[in-house]
């Protein structure tokens, strides 16, 4: 599995042509206690850069965009009743959706883990 990030703190973890999408540990920390995540329905298709979700804390809300194009094949149902899962493990149990990528070249231009760590340290 290879890990990619956007400058806006979304991640796409790639395993073959399947991308797991979510927000970074740093992003959940900035948002504070997550109280709600609005997710798309299974079967929806997205272009790279489309808004796929909204993540909300008590006093803030953020749109989440996908770094890769494709069809949603799985939605993290845990988040519906337990949005705090995002705080508990943003990059593990708190993932948002899985996308079957329509173009594996979409990862070009994304940050790798080291580059992302440098980006947020700035």
């Amino acid at each position: 599995m290879s890990k990619f990030y956007t400058e806006d703190h979304e991640y796409a973890f790639i395993d073959g042509d399947i991308a797991t999408i979510g927000v970074s540990h740093h992003a959940q920390d900035q948002l504070g206690d997550v109280v709600f995540v609005e997710l798309p329905e299974k079967g929806t298709t997205f272009e790279k850069g489309d808004e796929i979700a909204v993540v909300e804390s008590v006093k803030a809300a953020s749109e989440v965009y996908t770094a890769v194009a494709g069809e949603v094949i799985e939605v993290n149902s845990l988040l519906e009743d337990a949005p705090e899962t995002v705080n508990a493990g943003a990059e593990t149990v708190g993932w948002f959706i899985k996308i079957k990528m329509s173009n594996t070249a979409d990862t070009e231009g994304l940050l790798d883990e080291t580059a992302y760590q440098t980006h947020i340290a700035d």
Binding site: F36, V58, E84
Partner: protein, 530 residues
């Protein structure tokens, strides 16, 4: 000594505090604290059997005419007898902070004194107990009140017309932007002009309103001194821009000093100037928005003209309109017939250029009466004096606190000597490295008996604290407030975090868990809930 037959009380009682007793803060059995009494929900003290009204028995009929739609199941409404109702809501009221009980310097909300003559006249039967659709000849006195208030608002703002029906500030914004869109349609430019320019310091209602009317929002950066640069506006203007929405004085409490240049640029580009009038209190009687180039501006009667805030409304948001927009004002509007000098309400848009209707009926009459009573009480001299005192108070607070709190826009512009208007804006730099946030600081103010200022707004400064004392506060109260704020700031800087991090300690409740409320919303009482 008295003889035993004498009726005089000869048994003494303790009549001074026992000073040897050490104070212990033991919990009470009830959980109550003297005047602060826990009050359960209505549904925990009342029942579906109880009622606090006596209503005459319904007349006898042979059969009802509900068409078989009778409500057979219990609704589940709980009632209380009259004395229980009184006690329930009086006890609840005692858990509220209010202007009548203390200083409420909530920035951009203009929490000024609410005179009670306004309440009295608003309840006169000929003004309160009249129906919006009874024949107009039976309500001319009420229509004249609307006309009279409209006249004051137009003269104080130097504008050509005023739409009196909007129900609150945000509703007024909507009305103003609709008038602008209507004017663009009349010019045949509505499909082309799709953008609205809004500074980043604006109140959230501005972008929400623009989108409501179908516009795209283009956010405008403010310059380092907290105001809008006309050069930035000129750059953003094009034949795709419908309007700018600008607050003046702005949400940083500053007068937009280049406002006339901005207005000219906007008009040259064929766009309109919407002014958010939330802060009109600072300049009323000293400047007229119409002279500044404004095309539309709402006036929050519950801020500037003192109709009670009522725990969040009702408000009223009349919108003054320039000559260019006047004819597009929505129905209803007051018309005085030139022939017989009789006033009436025009209720239908047919035959006019009105863009439509904002609400059923004629708007917030109950707020109109109160606002007009406030205005007549002040007169033009009092209104000017009120604005001056509001600005004086804000600048006094700023001057007395700027060495201990961090005033915004001073560091960015060294030697920055411009006055605040009716609000003083600070940011949280003075709390740096204390571990204390603006929120903690505000909660400690509650313990000291003050309502906190507006926090974290405007968004353009970090950890914003927006203080609006209003003209209603005396110098003594301001001095107490200033002394308290200084004490708190020093305490924070001295590392006395205890006072802040878990504050408030002395309010009816401790800090509430807003995360829990949002994650697992419980929005109503349910029988037999856990």
């Amino acid at each position: 000594m008295n003889k035993p037959t004498n009726k005089m009380n000869n048994v003494g009682r303790p009549s001074a505090p026992n000073i040897t007793e050490t104070h212990t803060d033991h919990p009470t059995f009830t959980g109550n604290k003297a005047l602060q009494i826990n009050e359960p929900l209505l549904f925990e003290v009342g029942s579906v059997e109880q009622t606090g009204v006596d209503i005459a028995a319904p007349r006898d009929v042979s059969a009802n005419r509900l068409g078989g739609l009778d409500r057979d199941e219990e609704i589940g409404l709980y009632g209380l007898s009259e004395p229980q109702t009184m006690r329930h809501y009086v006890r609840l009221s005692q858990k509220n902070f209010a202007i009548d009980s203390g200083m409420y310097p909530l920035g951009s909300c203009t929490m000024k004194h609410n005179p009670r003559i306004n309440e009295k006249i608003a309840r006169l039967p000929g003004l309160a107990d009249i129906h919006p659709l009874q024949p107009q000849q039976t309500v001319r006195g009420a229509i004249e009140v609307i006309e009279n208030l409209a006249d004051w608002l137009m003269k104080l703002t130097g504008m050509a017309a005023v739409a009196m029906s909007p129900k609150a500030g945000a509703h007024g914004e909507l009305c103003g932007m609709m008038a602008i869109e209507a004017a663009l349609r009349a010019r045949g430019e509505a499909t082309k002009r799709t953008k609205v320019l809004i500074p980043e310091s604006a109140h959230g209602t501005n972008p929400a309103t623009a989108v409501f009317v179908g516009y795209q929002v283009q956010t405008i950066k403010t310059r380092d001194d907290g105001t809008v640069d006309p050069a930035t506006i000129r750059e953003a203007l094009s034949d795709e821009v419908a309007a700018i929405m600008l607050t003046n004085p702005n949400t940083c409490g500053l007068f937009e000093r280049d406002i006339m240049e901005i207005a000219d640029a906007v008009h040259e580009a064929g766009a309109y100037f919407y002014c958010d009038g939330a802060n009109f209190n600072a300049i009323m009687g000293r400047a007229r928005p119409g002279d500044l180039g404004v095309d539309a501006m709402h006036i929050n009667l519950h801020k500037t003209f003192s109709t009670p805030h009522g725990g969040g409304g009702p408000g009223a948001g009349p919108v003054v309109l320039s000559e260019a927009l006047a004819k597009f004002a929505p129905v209803p509007f007051v018309h005085r017939n030139a022939d017989d000098n009789i006033v009436s309400l025009v209720e239908h848009k047919q035959g006019t250029q009105a863009f439509g209707r904002m609400t059923a009926f004629h708007g917030q009459m109950g707020m109109n009466t109160r606002a007009l009573a406030y205005i007549l009480s002040h007169g033009q001299d009092g209104i000017k004096q009120a604005a001056e005192d509001a600005v004086l108070n804000a600048n006094y607070v700023k001057a007395k606190l700027k060495d201990v709190l961090t005033p915004s826009f001073e560091e960015q512009s060294p030697g920055f000597k411009r006055p605040a208007m009716h609000e003083a804006l600070f940011q949280d730099d003075f709390l740096k490295d204390t571990g204390i946030t603006t929120l903690d600081f505000a909660k400690a103010m509650i313990d000291e008996g003050f309502h906190p200022m507006t926090m974290y707004f405007p968004l353009v400064v970090h950890g914003a604290m927006l203080i609006e004392p209003t003209e209603s506060e005396s110098k003594d109260t301001l001095d107490q407030f200033i002394a308290t704020m200084r004490d708190l700031a020093k305490s924070a800087q001295n590392g006395e975090t205890e006072r802040f991090l878990n504050a408030p300690f002395h309010a009816p409740m401790r800090r509430l868990d807003e995360t829990l409320a949002a994650r697992k919303p419980i929005l109503k009482w349910t029988p037999n809930a856990d």
